[in-house]
Every structure is written in structure tokens, then in C-alpha cells.
């Protein structure tokens, strides 16, 4: 039995740093993490290239500068982001609902009984990993898309006004959708319910606001995550009634923060 006693174990305590390390181990040791991230990369880069190539093809056929005036080469190459948000959203939800589903949450909270460090670590690790993957992903998507559009001579480059903002903004948008998903996961706890809530807000809400009469439809719609995302990747089409690109992102960050705060409240109050 002497093997059980550890003479060499130095005194230690629960620290936020230790919990961050733990959450990094947890995130990287699940296959679903890498599947979801790979799916996101594939969706953004492959779809961006495909859309770009199709547009280039149509445009070369039709010719004429008039057709090209309103064309947003940057936006077309980043469109895949709106499909990739499904993969990122699912991953964000699973980061926590996967623990409730399997019972792992009881181990996690028994190790960190103050609980809040777990939420902070999960959100932080997830946000950093997502952004680190998303930024090169949107940059490559943009470059591949422009390559596919070079026959049109209206393709963008990094110097095109708004292009860099769209690339960075798309990565930030995806990250914030993911963090919003983590917050909702902490509130709802159950995978199906959390996904329905997240995608209800992100994908279905715009359809519902369409049913409102003007000007309410526009007034409400500009605050919706999906429209905030559309705005950040657009470089040419300026709808003056929309929120500014970074203002929109700040609003989305606010939603994510509110979801996390509510998640923290639920986490500390409810039985595990």
C-alpha cells in the first residue's frame, strides 16, 4: 500500500492557472474538438473558393463593368463563415453539455468546488483555440477566393479597403458565436436544448424579425448576431441603418458576456 502514499507530493491548491491547464487538456483530448474545427476550416476555405470560382465564371460570361460595380469579392470569399458557425457553435455547446451528459461535470466540480474558475477556463480556452484556428482560416479562405476570382480583375487583396477588417472580423465573429454557445451551454446544460437555443437566436430570429412591419424590422434586425456577422464581412454594401461593423461586434461580445454571466449564476446556484 506504500505506493498510494506520495511522499513527494508538494502542497498545492486550486488555482485559475491549474484550471486553465485542465480545460486545455480536456479540450484537446476529445476527437469532437478536432472534427469540429476541421469542419469549420473546410467549410470556410472550400466554400469560399467554390463561391468565388462560380461568381468569376458567371461574370466572365456576362462581362460588362456594370455587373461588377456592386460586386463584393471579399464578402463572397468569406461566405463559408455562416456555415462554419454551425460547427463552432456545436463545439462551444459541447464543451460544457458534454460534461453534463456524461457525468464528467461532477468530477470537474468536485475538483473545483468554487465552480466559477471552471466556467472562466472553459470560455477562455475555447475562445483562444477558436480564434487561433479561425484567423488563418479566414485569411486563407480570402486568399484562395481571390485567386479563384483573378479572371474578373475585380478581385480584392489585403490592401482593398475593408478587406483586412472583414478577415479579422470574421474570425472574431466566429469566436464570439462560440463563446455565446459556451454561455448558453452552461445555462441550458443539455446538448439538444442548448443547440436549439443557440441556433434559434442565430439562424431563426432573422426570419421572425422579417415578419415585423418597418421600421421595426430593420431596427431589431440590426442587433441580431447573423446581421452583425453579415456586416463585418461586407466591404462594399453600406446599409446606413445597420450597425457599424465593429459596433456590431461589440454588441455581439456583449451578448456573449451576458450569456456567460447568466451561465455563471446558474452554475453557482444549481445542484450539479
Amino acid at each position: 500500500m506504500s505506493a498510494i502514499s506520495a511522499a513527494g507530493l508538494a502542497p498545492s491548491r486550486v488555482t485559475q492557472r491549474g484550471v486553465l491547464r485542465s480545460e486545455w487538456i480536456k479540450l484537446r483530448s476529445l476527437r469532437s474538438t478536432w472534427f469540429s474545427l476541421a469542419a469549420a476550416v473546410l467549410l470556410v476555405d472550400a466554400l469560399g473558393t467554390l463561391f468565388s470560382a462560380l461568381h468569376a465564371h458567371r461574370m466572365t460570361d456576362n462581362g460588362g463593368p456594370n455587373v461588377q460595380v456592386m460586386f463584393d469579392a471579399t464578402e463572397v470569399s468569406l461566405r463559408g463563415v455562416f456555415l462554419a458557425q454551425l460547427a463552432i457553435g456545436v463545439l462551444g455547446v459541447l464543451v460544457i453539455t458534454g460534461e453534463y451528459g456524461t457525468g464528467m461535470i461532477r468530477s470537474s466540480l468536485a475538483a473545483v468546488p468554487h465552480r466559477r474558475p471552471v466556467l472562466i477556463a472553459k470560455a477562455a480556452v475555447f475562445a483562444v483555440v477558436t480564434f487561433v484556428v479561425a484567423l488563418p482560416m479566414t485569411l486563407i479562405g480570402f486568399e484562395l477566393g481571390q485567386l479563384a476570382q483573378r479572371s474578373t480583375h475585380v478581385q480584392a487583396d489585403l490592401g482593398t479597403p475593408g478587406a483586412l477588417r472583414a478577415i479579422v472580423g470574421a474570425a472574431v465573429y466566429l469566436t464570439l458565436i462560440g463563446v455565446l454557445a459556451v454561455g448558453i451551454g452552461f445555462i441550458v446544460r443539455n446538448t439538444a436544448g442548448a443547440l436549439a437555443t443557440l441556433f434559434g437566436i442565430v439562424l431563426v430570429a432573422p426570419l421572425l424579425t422579417n415578419a415585423l412591419p418597418e421600421p421595426y424590422a430593420t431596427d431589431v434586425a440590426k442587433f441580431l448576431p447573423l446581421n452583425i456577422g453579415s456586416r463585418i464581412v461586407a466591404t462594399t454594401e453600406f446599409d446606413t441603418r445597420a450597425l457599424g461593423p465593429w459596433v456590431g461586434i461589440a454588441v455581439l461580445a456583449g451578448y456573449a458576456a451576458v450569456a456567460l454571466a447568466a451561465g455563471a449564476f446558474v452554475l453557482s446556484r444549481r445542484d450539479a
Binding site: 491548491r13 485542465s22 487538456i25 461535470i105 461532477r106 468536485a110
Partner: protein, 311 residues
């Protein structure tokens, strides 16, 4: 040292744990017995700060669990339903647990070796058998070299080899001076492992003490007597105030006295001279004692067992 004081937990209208006070001392294995649904797992969750008590308190080494600066270093827990993500490997699970409490990586490998999971530590837990899952749970509980161990149904679903392994492990841990608190609904298992027991039913404390005490107290030692003159002996014993059950024409089961007294009485008291064919003290098992004590506290009775007796 584990201590609960008037611990109470209500889920809506249902009271899962009801005014439960007990103490679990170090250096021995203490069994926590009760039928299914008697509040054992809830009590374990309350001790670990996973659920919040409605009233009363649960303390470990004099502190509430949430106030422990490094809980895994003081308390090791094996929770009943597996508390592990099925998609993660055993080693990664332990590494993630260890990181939270600042436990070094080396310790993870030692525990994997101790519980004998070396060959499968890199495999996903979802593919583990029940026995492997329990071994992982034990490794996780021992990670921080804790002085207090809480194990909820540790032998559930284990094969005889695994059961013996756990039994020896628990005894060894207690011999090292640790507090070992083990819940089970299997009385026979507790009789072999525990020296102290706490019995609960419907969330309430029914009895506690050493295994021997509890058995004696619950079963009230009885004596089986066989004689051709059962009528006369039964009358004599009843006159003395003992309880006599006649289980066959020539067989009596006597409670309230011991075999020496019955022998004396049959041989000579009041000139009886009743010849006895058999005189056997009946030893109740912990299992029987438990059935007796918790009869009124079982939530769901099987109809096949009781229909003959009650209808």
C-alpha cells in the same frame, strides 16, 4: 473525519435526506448502508459540495468541502454513476483532474500503475468495462493522496477478482489511518469490508455502530430448539416471558434468552425433564439484520416476495 449535522436535502416536495447526523472516524472502513433510494448517493453529493443542503451541514476535517483549498488533496471520491467523459482517454482524464489541484503528472502515471490500467490508459473510456471504469474511478480518487475517501457503491458490477481487490485496497487504506466511507446496498459485502456501519432508510438514520453491535441489536439472538415435547417447553418459556415461535410441530425458535438458559430450563426447572433433540443458537447475518431494520424503510417492495405473506 467526516461529520454531518442535521443534514437535510429536499428536492421539491421529496425529502431525500432527512435530519441526518453521523460521524465517520479515521482508521477504519465505515459502511454506509441503505436500500436503493434511501439517500446514500445524495448524502455523498452533499458531502462533496455538488448539491447544496436544504439545512444542516456536512463537514470534512472540520471544514465545508467548498472551503478546502485543494479538495482532491484531502478528499478522494468515487461517484456512483461514472463521472468521466466517455470520449476521453483514461490518462487524459486523470491529467485533467490532476492539473486543477496542482498534482504533478508523475502521480498520474503512478496511479494508473497502481490500479492496473497501464495497458489501456491511452484508450477512450467509453470502451471500458465496468470493472475498468471502477479502477479508473479509484485512480482518480487516490490522485491527491487524500486522507478521506468517499466511495459510492465501489463494488457495483465488479467480478469476484475486482471485488476482492477493492476490499483489500479499502482495508489497506484504513490501516494507513485514512477515513474510508463506503456506501453499498450489498450487506454481505459490507460485512466483509466494514467494521463500522451507518444504516439509513428513506433519508433517515436508522442505526449506527460496529457491525457486531448492529447485528446483535437488530436480530436479537435467537435459539432453535427441537423436542418431542414442544408444547410443554413452549408453555414454560412463555411463562418466563420469552418469545416463542413454533416453526414445526417439534421445532421452536426462541428469542429473549440464550441456549444455556433454555437447556437448564428443559433439564430441571420446575421438574420439567424435557428431552431436547437439538439446541442451536441462531446467528443472524448482517444481511438479515439489515432486512429487519430497513423493512419499513424500503421504498419499493417486490410483490413476488411479499404477496404470499401479506395477502
Amino acid at each position: 473525519m467526516i461529520e454531518t449535522t442535521a443534514l437535510t436535502k429536499k428536492y421539491g416536495e421529496r425529502t431525500a435526506v432527512d435530519d441526518l447526523s453521523f460521524e465517520v472516524r479515521p482508521g477504519r472502513v465505515t459502511g454506509f448502508l441503505g436500500p436503493n433510494g434511501s439517500g446514500k448517493s445524495t448524502t455523498m453529493r452533499l458531502l462533496l459540495g455538488l448539491d447544496r443542503p436544504t439545512s444542516g451541514s456536512a463537514r470534512i476535517n472540520g471544514k465545508r468541502y467548498v472551503d478546502l483549498p485543494a479538495p482532491l488533496r484531502e478528499v478522494g471520491a468515487l461517484l456512483e454513476a461514472r463521472a468521466v467523459h466517455t470520449g476521453r482517454s483514461a490518462r487524459n482524464h486523470l491529467l485533467a483532474m490532476a492539473a486543477t489541484n496542482g498534482i504533478p503528472r508523475r502521480r498520474v502515471d503512478e496511479m494508473i500503475g497502481l490500479v492496473g490500467l497501464d495497458g489501456v490508459a491511452g484508450k477512450r473510456v467509453g470502451g471500458f468495462s465496468l470493472g475498468m471504469g471502477q479502477r479508473l474511478g479509484i485512480a482518480s480518487a487516490l490522485l491527491g493522496d487524500p486522507q478521506v475517501l468517499l466511495l459510492d457503491e465501489p463494488v457495483n458490477g465488479l467480478d469476484p477478482e475486482g471485488i476482492r481487490w477493492i476490499r483489500n485496497l479499502l482495508k489497506g487504506l484504513a490501516d494507513e489511518g485514512r477515513t474510508v466511507f463506503v456506501s453499498s446496498h450489498l450487506m454481505s459485502e459490507m460485512a466483509l469490508t466494514a467494521t463500522e456501519i451507518i444504516v439509513v432508510g428513506r433519508g433517515r438514520l436508522i442505526t449506527s455502530g460496529s457491525v457486531d453491535e448492529v447485528v446483535r441489536q437488530a436480530a436479537g439472538a435467537s435459539v432453535l430448539v427441537r423436542t418431542a415435547e414442544a408444547d410443554r417447553l413452549a408453555a414454560l418459556l412463555r411463562d418466563e416471558g420469552h418469545q416463542v415461535d413454533r416453526t414445526a410441530p417439534d421445532t421452536l425458535v426462541v428469542t429473549g434468552t440464550d441456549s444455556a438458559q433454555i437447556g437448564l430450563m428443559a433439564a430441571g426447572a420446575a421438574g420439567a425433564a424435557i428431552p431436547l433433540v437439538e439446541l442451536t443458537p441462531q446467528h443472524a447475518t448482517l444481511e438479515e439484520a439489515f432486512m429487519e431494520i430497513t423493512r419499513d424503510a424500503v421504498e419499493f417492495h417486490g410483490t413476488t416476495e411479499t404477496s404470499g405473506a401479506t395477502r
